[in-house]
Amino acid sequence: MPEVKNSPVFGAISYNCSPMELTPGNWLLSSLPILTVIILMLLFKWGGLRAGAMSWLVAAAVSLIAFGGSWLILAWSQVKALVLALNMLVIIWGALLLYSLASEVGTIRAIGLFLPRLSNDRSIQLLMIAWLLTSFLQGMGGFGVPVAVCAPILVGMGYDPILSIIMTAIGHGWAVSYGSMATAFESLIAVSGVPGLLIAPYAAILLALSFVPTGVIITFLGTGWKGVRHAFPAILTVSLTMGTTLYLLNTLGLWSLSTIGPSLVGIATLFLLTRLPAYHGVRTAIANGGQELSPRDLLLRLTPYILLVVIGFSVILIQPLNTFLNQVGISFKYPEIISGLGFVTPAESSATIHPFSHPGTVLLVSVLLSSILLKRKGLITRTSPRRIVSVTAHNAVDASLGVVMMAGVSTIMTHVGMTSTLARGIAETINGVIYPVVAPFVGVMGAFLTGSNNNSNILFGALQAEAAALLKLNVPLILAAQNAGGSLGSVMSPTKLIVSCTTVGLGGQEGKVLRKMIGYGLIPIIIVAVATGIWSWLLSSGA
């Protein structure tokens, strides 16, 4: 690897500071914590929390025995993991609280009653919820919110809980990168030092390539091949309008809108398509135990989600409000950490948390305001708050422990050089023809380990840029592939699965879900990988 000390990349990431010798043994040891999670979850069907705890023990043991780790490094790693996890946990707690409130006041049932009014076509309903609504929510809420909100709706419509998680998770995979104000993409720009406008066109096209397979997978899982054949023209049309919007927003530099914009255009397109006789479905009376909600009742029960959309949108898009709320920021300073083998993690600050504009705060405020409103309308009784808090607390504890464990694995590996050894092993042993195909999977690996596209880009963005430069590949294309892989792969991470499973009553069965999900989840990633390979070959051959 070349010395790139002047690069903005290596100011923050210490790959080149690593004195770790890259040997097959070191590489294998570095991969042990990840292999532990994968094997325990896929083969032994362990839950995410249990597998995460085992992986933490393996990471700690390997770091202490072979990578010069110490108790001081473990303590700092765990402190950093807690700060990292806190950022996600506030969102998770808010999402779980919102879900408990929605269950209490019958919102899920109300959505189940509302959808047939839009279209009775099952495949259209599925695409609207599992693909477009999840993507839109990712644009506002980010971590865990789309699945926590939409999977229970699908379960309420009669779909299998495991399939509901798989459909909603895969449905918003493309949206992760530009969700939450495009944090992940901004991180990629920051660590690589490559201008965003150079990466943006490649990133838009690679992510847009996942649209059709995503729509097809959701429809196939929910309605079978017959449903796919029926819905394919709709999937293609929505993919085209969303893809065009994504490309335009990205190339204009408006990537903070690159999830919300395409999602809204997709929702509008699908709504227009439901006006066509082919997608309106068979109009039948809305039967739900002989009950039908009046439009007023329906609107009332939808209050938590309507407020979530209104408040979330206001915080993100009203610039003066956003600036005002962002005045308060919390960041933690960490000292330089050097492992026993000399691996240096420079002194750094944690990502700034803006408590007043944080998605978790948006969720909590939505819950509070809707609770006040619904109490006035008599939908919340005196015993409701106790029940809502109790259900949330029971679900939140296991999910929180799981997130803390996986964040701990990730920080231990980073601080003793295991992550960099793993990534360098891939970058230095693969040739320039194959590397573009592998690049998205490096992003997937980072996202799987950390549960976040943002953290994957921070961990591997610099390495990908350096490897691409070394192999004389198109650097922005490889970075776009890293970004797409991280985005599509993050939805399969144990951290996110723990949260998803909690909301549909499948806590502890994350291994079972991952086992069913991984085959489908890899399809869009393989398509992106092959496209990157072909594109890179075309660029290098001057076509």
Binding site: R50, L57, W71, L74, Q78, D398, L401
Partner: protein, 57 residues
């Protein structure tokens, strides 16, 4: 009054969450100030909590 199995498990998990959230800070304090025994006890509890999750979850 005895607690149900679910309630017991919830309380234990809550306790482990609190341990995992607070002990790293105590461990840092102990290691930075040379309190060796406190460091040993803290790290042992930290690891035992995680072992509990592996064995009993």
């Amino acid at each position: 009054m005895s607690l149900s199995k679910g309630a017991k498990r919830f309380r234990i998990n809550m306790l482990i969450l609190v341990i995992e959230a607070l002990l790293p800070f105590l461990l840092l304090f102990a290691l930075n100030n040379g309190y060796t025994n406190l460091g040993r006890v803290t790290s042992a509890i930290l690891v035992l909590g995680i072992i509990y999750l592996v064995v009993f979850k």
